[in-house]
């Protein structure tokens, strides 16, 4: 009897990663419903979801265990990490400039001064 069967060890680890990733994506969905304004919702929509997706990718890689698929998964992860910040920036910028930010939630706002004083460059 083999004590360590690498195939099933990988499968179980993969299952744990997949469940963790799915849970984080679920939390991102909950955040969209629960959080008060666009900016905080954007945090929820973009951030735990990135980590969740990366965990799901690791899980899938551990389950598939072939280099071809790992290459594709790495690409997915890399593009996710590169595009999410840009998307988040555009949404955040538009939200701030159109006044979608709840001022009562901000304990400090150093951008407001900056925009009213000089205008952006």
């Amino acid at each position: 009897m083999t004590v360590l069967d690498w195939g099933s060890v990988c499968d179980w680890t993969a299952a744990v990663f997949l469940l963790l990733g799915a849970a984080l994506c679920f939390v991102a969905g909950v955040g969209l419903l629960r959080l008060p304004d666009t900016l905080t919702r954007m945090h929820a929509a973009t951030k735990p979801q990135v980590l969740g997706l990366l965990l799901v990718l690791v899980g899938v890689a551990l389950r598939l265990r072939s280099w071809v698929d790992v290459g594709t998964l790495v690409l997915i992860g890399a593009f996710q990490l590169m595009t999410v910040p840009v998307a988040a920036h555009m949404v955040g910028r538009a939200a701030y400039r159109t006044g979608q930010v709840r001022g009562d939630q901000l304990v400090l706002d150093e951008l407001d001064d900056h925009l009213t004083r000089s205008g952006p460059d």
């Binding site: 984080l24 008060p36 590169m82 706002d109």
Partner: protein, 173 residues
């Protein structure tokens, strides 16, 4: 339309790598077709030439990757927790002035900052190398230090020697 001489070969190389990964097998045919597609793409959709000033420091790169992953995990879990607990969240918009003003360092730091959960870059002022960051529910000074720490890691991974020196000198602010 640009001539062959103006092609950015590193970009072509990266496109070929993506092409081969998408096809899933490293064969001569895949590399050749990838090369053709990449060169045609670069000729038809030329990007403005960039003087990146990019250096890769292996040790810095590994440190950056490792600490970035730790950051990503810790703040991902924290943001998830903040989402689930019912308390109202204090938020803040911070102006963080960076010590290196190069375009590449500014962009790389901005990407790193926004990839980390709990902070998002709302506005970038290029002339003073200032990032305006929205942070959620954490200590403000800690968040400010976090941005500067990420900048240090990014510059030590990708920066030129002069930029690293300006970090050590403490920068402008």
């Amino acid at each position: 339309m640009r001539t062959l001489r103006g092609i950015e070969w590193p970009l072509v190389g990266w496109l070929v790598v993506v092409w081969v990964l998408l096809w899933g097998s490293l064969t001569a045919a895949n590399v050749v077709t990838g090369l053709v597609v990449a060169v045609v793409l670069c000729l038809v959709f030329p990007l403005p030439p960039l003087n990146l000033g990019l250096r890769i420091h292996p040790v810095g790169l590994v440190r950056f990757a490792a600490l970035f992953l730790v950051d990503l995990t810790v703040s991902g879990l924290r943001t998830a927790w903040q989402t689930l607990t019912p308390a109202p969240l204090p938020c803040a918009v911070l102006a963080v002035r960076l010590r290196c003003s190069g375009d590449l360092m500014l962009a790389a730091t901005a990407i790193a900052v926004s990839a980390v959960p709990g902070s998002a870059v709302l506005e970038v002022q290029r002339s003073t190398a200032t990032l305006f960051v929205h942070v959620m529910g954490s200590d403000i000074e800690e968040a400010r230090d976090g941005v500067r720490r990420l900048e240090t890691l990014v510059v030590r991974a990708f920066g030129t020697r002069a930029e690293i020196a300006s970090l050590d000198a403490g920068g402008t602010s």
